[in-house]
Amino acid sequence: MATFAGGERAPATPVLVSPAGAERAVELSAKSRKVKRGTLHKGEGLFGWLFVSPALLVLLLFLIIPIILAIYISFTDWSGLTSPLSGSVHYVGLKNYRSVLTTPGLYQQDFGTAVRNNLYFVLFTVPMQTVLALGLAVLVNSKILKARGFFRTAFYFPSVTSSIAITVVFMFLFQGGGVVDRLLSYVGIQGPNWLIDQRGVFTLILNALGVNSPGWANHTVLGLSLWNWLAGPSLGMCVIIILLTWTTSGTFMLFFLAALQSISEDIDEASAIDGATPWQRFRKVTVPMLRPALVLVLTLGFISTWQVFDQIFLVGPGNITTITPAYFSYQVSFQDSAFGIGSAVAFLLFAFIVFLTMVQRRFVKEDLTK
């Protein structure tokens, strides 16, 4: 039956994993289209619009128009109570943007803190999730081991579950005197109360070395002293870094696994026969061939780590050193009714993520043309 034939043949979606496949698909359809030209089916124009308009309407109504409205809101003092288009909303120019970026005050300080927190979060999470994902993929791909399917499932499982549910589990593990602290006590370390601990990791190390807020570090940037900027991720943030590394590396492992499986065994064997050590083979053969997957994982990592929200929603209210710009935008809007400021932060973040996405597309494209 046609259904089954199609079912068997349909290859894995080549959206990101094998862009070459996608291109081939586009090419193929372009070719057949050329053949078909001239026999334009009647009503194709009408049906084309009929088919696409429900989806387009939803995207316009709940994605595109709202974004334009929200850009407008970021220049007003809307409080969220009345209609944003009513007369009680005032245009305030760049005031909202200034109050988070340049005007000294609580908003600027909170925004500065959020940016610092997120910077450290990205700096630690992206390398950790990438290395862990690659390591797991290599392990799961090694031919001498059995039950690889089981382990692949185990590693991927946290990625598909609810972020809220998993954060609750982590809050249980890391609560003061909880599972992690018990484990630490076995090796003679007295664990902190992770989630509410605001001390930065770098500060703790510097303090241990006898350095404590030298004079030059009092200079402030974005309402935060340099000493605070250099504090490193707080212990509370470390929990979120571990949590995100844990939930994302399974997905990224799949990217690497797909790439590893496309490396032909001939190449690997040839280099083995040439006398290359396993480490040399990994460095000189495997890693270069993994480059496209690596670029993809890194850039996706850099983009997604600026959007972390659910985990912060649960941990953030108790610990300001874990809030991120995304959460800050939510908090000032929905809790302090300062929607103008919230929108301004959201658009600063939006602009930044669009910039990262453009960089990513350039990188990935470069990689394909090589």
């Binding site: 939803v58 709202p66 974004i67 249980f172 659910d310 993520i353």
Partner: protein, 300 residues
């Protein structure tokens, strides 16, 4: 034998080779097991703790055996016995099922219609529409919280089921995914249908759609998983506890985050209830999820 794949400098004796492979294999298994414990351990502890009493959970957090064992947390989760508005789990579960089902139906139906149109039907303005869809792929969800709240208020849909469903009943990723599947269908198949005098709708519904069944299954699973786990959007589109889903209900129960120590068996049981449906689907239909999970939807 697999051992043949292992590299050896020329001249090494076979026995050394075998020993080396065995060492390598044991190290490999050791690493796999350690990581498997790290990845699955928390879930095992979670289930174990959900059968503990509150004092037992905080005094012996590491123990895998509840002492004494109790099902009181699970009784509460299933709505047996006392349940206040803040712990109305059956209602949250019902809401999650209702909302996720509607969103999934919407996405599967509308995304594939749009995907087919963009893949196969030539209509004026198609390039612009496709560009728009591609463009919205890059919009991060967190940026949409305020805009969507604003629009729901404006349309009078805030704090209602339609308001929870409609805005995410279509997603650009799904349209793109389905378009890729439709592009791979041989056009001759449609030509045959058209020759028979079937309308475009009939060709789509009877001929093309059955062929892309793997795509539809992938999209169904991704949509259900995505909407079941959705939190941000439900958090901003509703305010009454009667619209709590498992995710928003659980998040608000845990609240300010740090009501440390108390009621962990209950919270973990509720979290398990949130995880289980997706877990069952995952183990049953893993290959589709693996395929679809890589199509760009990376959890933030």
């Amino acid at each position: 034998m697999t051992a043949l794949n292992v590299s050896v400098p020329p001249g090494t004796r076979p026995r050394d080779r075998r020993v080396k492979t065995n060492v390598k294999r044991s190290l490999g298994y050791f690493a796999l097991i350690v990581f498997a414990l790290i990845f699955i351990g928390p879930f095992i502890l979670q289930v174990a703790t959900s059968f503990k009493t509150d004092p037992d959970a905080s005094n012996n957090p590491l123990s895998l055996i509840p002492h004494p064992a109790t099902i009181s947390a699970w009784r509460q989760v299933f709505g047996i016995g006392a349940a206040g508005a803040s712990t109305d789990f059956p209602r949250w579960f019902f809401n999650s099922v209702l909302v996720s089902t509607c969103i999934t139906i919407g996405r599967v139906f509308l995304d594939s219609l749009a995907g087919y149109s963009l893949a196969r039907l030539r209509f004026p303005g198609r390039r612009v529409v496709f560009g728009l869809v591609l463009g919205t792929l890059a919009v991060p969800g967190v940026v949409l919280l305020i805009p969507r709240f604003l629009m729901l208020k404006q349309l009078g849909l805030f704090n209602s089921y339609p308001g929870m469903i409609l805005p995410i009943a279509v997603d650009a990723t799904g349209i793109f995914l389905m378009r890729q599947f439709f592009l791979q269908v041989p056009e001759a198949l449609e030509e045959a249908g058209k020759v028979d005098g079937a309308s475009i709708w009939q060709v789509y519904w009877r001929v093309v759609l059955p062929v892309v069944r793997p795509g539809l299954i992938t999209l169904t699973i991704l949509s259900f998983q995505g909407s079941w786990n959705e939190f941000q959007f439900f958090q901003i589109s509703t305010i009454s506890p009667k619209y709590y889903t498992l995710t928003t209900g659980l998040a608000n129960l845990v609240g300010g985050g740090l009501s440390a120590g108390n009621q962990y068996p209950l919270k973990l049981a509720a979290a398990a209830l949130t995880i289980i449906p997706v877990a069952l689907m995952f183990f049953k239909l893993q290959k589709y999820l693996v395929r679809g999970g890589m199509s760009g939807s990376v959890k933030g």
